[in-house]
């Protein structure tokens, strides 16, 4: 049986997967934010790929409320009373997820939160002060300025899941700018003028399903998943979402290409390309609830991040996954990919929470929620290694019968 597996593994095509990543990162898909035109276009492109691979396809829409959207680049200028600087959106400043929408530029003096009168001032939030605590010092303030680390390329991270909007405009500043303002704030002439153009939109997201085989008899039912949505482009700022999670989608589509028509009869085999992971894993929550309602219990393998591979791929499991973990371990040994228990905070948790055996696999990212997440940072060797692992796990699951029935459903 391993001879058959090795023949399948020999077909894993890194160039094909790299091509999928490049396609998903293309500007026409605009970073694939859930509910956006770019997200819908990416889903249709993926549906075409599944059709080519011979899958029976279905699209499953669901509503998502209050998706944050920065609809214009914020205009941010500040002065220490002598010099004036215009901050670069994405690098020196970004709109915080908790920000209120402030389309017009508001100018006022800069002060430090908790020190003096806040009325009519932009308040710098000192390191160590929580946003919640800051609100207690911010009655009548123009807005808040929070220091936040940037990535190795100097970009702010974009997050779509997090706090609800508060009563004030909130900007994040890179550590250097934040420190410079803190130093200048006691100076009488320090001021800041800024807008925070962010709105919340109710959208329709959709999961894309492809099925090749339906489980029958004692055959195992397999579900491979990856989220195709990203955090989306900002005005004037491309965020291609290549590693997160074009890479995972590429792995799952390639695994489906290799497995869809060769698994043993009786084996169920489907993929779910999930939407709205970046907004709280809502696509997998929607799908997991459906599976639970219908009494369907596939083994779930989710991939989130196959862009880089360091010492080992991280694996997080949930639900009755002991057998699935044993198969994954065997697959890792067969393909030579080291595995380590580590957090994979992604869609796999939704399936596990619904009581399904689920594992999440995350190798690594070349970039994360920023313009630095580009296709050139996705290593084809990492794609190949993770795909081989997924293919081997699925094959072993389909061809290795459980020797003893478990009393605990394992």
């Amino acid at each position: 049986m391993t001879t058959d597996l090795d023949a399948i593994l020999a077909g894993v095509d890194g160039d094909r997967m790299a091509g999928t990543v490049t396609a998903l990162a293309d500007a026409r898909f605009a970073g694939r934010r859930a509910g956006s035109p770019g997200g819908g276009a990416a889903r249709r492109w993926l549906a075409d790929q599944l059709h080519i691979l011979g899958a029976a396809r279905a699209t499953d829409p669901f509503g998502v409320r209050a998706v944050a959207e920065v609809y214009a680049a914020p205009e941010v200028t500040w002065s220490d009373g002598v010099d004036t600087w215009r901050l670069v959106f994405g690098r020196q400043t970004a709109v915080h997820l908790a920000s209120a929408d402030q389309p017009a530029v508001c100018r006022g003096p800069v002060a430090v939160a908790g020190a003096g009168n806040p009325v009519g001032r932009w308040l710098l939030v000192p390191d160590g002060m929580s946003l919640f605590d800051t609100y207690g010092h911010a009655d009548g303030a123009l807005g808040l300025l929070i220091g936040r680390p940037v990535d190795a390329d100097g970009w702010h991270f974009t997050m779509l899941a997090g706090p609800d909007p508060g009563p004030l405009p909130v900007l994040t500043l890179d550590p250097g700018t934040h420190a410079a303002m803190l130093a200048a704030a006691p100076t009488r002439g320090t001021w800041l003028a800024a807008s925070t153009p962010i709105r919340r939109v109710d959208v329709t997201a959709a999961n894309l399903h492809g099925r090749w085989r339906t489980a029958a008899g004692s055959g195992v039912d397999l579900l491979l998943t990856a989220h195709y949505d990203g955090v989306g482009d900002h005005p004037g700022l491309r965020q291609p979402a290549a590693s997160d999670n074009g890479s995972g989608v590429a792995v799952i589509v390639e695994a489906a290409r290799l497995l869809g028509h060769v698994l043993p009869d009786g084996t169920g085999f489907a993929v779910a390309l999930l939407d709205a992971e970046e907004i709280g894993a809502l696509g997998s929550a929607h799908h997991a609830a459906h599976l639970r309602r219908t009494g369907t219990s596939p083994l779930v393998v989710n991939v989130d991040g196959a862009g880089q591979l360091h010492e080992a791929a991280a694996v997080e499991a949930g639900g009755p996954a002991h057998r699935l973990l044993a198969l994954l371990d065997q697959a890792g040994r067969h393909t030579g990919l080291p595995l380590a228990a580590g957090p994979v905070a992604s869609d796999n948790r939704r399936y596990a929470a619904a009581g399904l055996a689920a594992v999440g696999i995350g190798a690594g990212m070349g970039g994360y929620h920023s313009p630095a997440d580009t296709p050139d940072r996705v290593d084809p060797a990492a794609l190949v290694a993770v795909c081989r692992l997924v293919v081997a796990t699925a094959w072993l699951a389909a061809t290795t019968p459980a020797t003893l029935p478990s009393l605990i459903g394992d």
């Binding site: 949930g318 973990l325 228990a341 990212m365």
Partner: protein
């Protein structure tokens, strides 16, 4: 390729993946016991920000979870 000739697979007990360290912090929950995800993100980047975020913000973290996350050097949501 023999299964015993490579150094792949888990170095220890695969079941450790069921009790991943850090999933009780603010960036994750025990996957078997909750339907709520405080912040989805992926391994390889900051889960939900950085240790500095965890220190500075409490937007979706209870104080105990935030303390745990900071102590563990993990990120924090929001």
């Amino acid at each position: 390729m023999s299964d015993t000739e490579t150094r792949g697979g888990f170095a220890g007990d695969p079941a450790a993946a069921l009790t991943v360290t850090g999933t009780s912090g603010c960036c994750g929950n025990p996957p078997q016991t909750t339907l709520a995800l405080p912040e989805p993100a992926a391994v390889g980047g900051p889960c939900c920000g950085t240790q500095a975020d965890a220190t500075a913000e409490s937007s979706c973290c209870g104080s105990a979870a935030k303390t745990d996350a900071v102590a563990a050097g993990q990120g924090c949501c929001g």
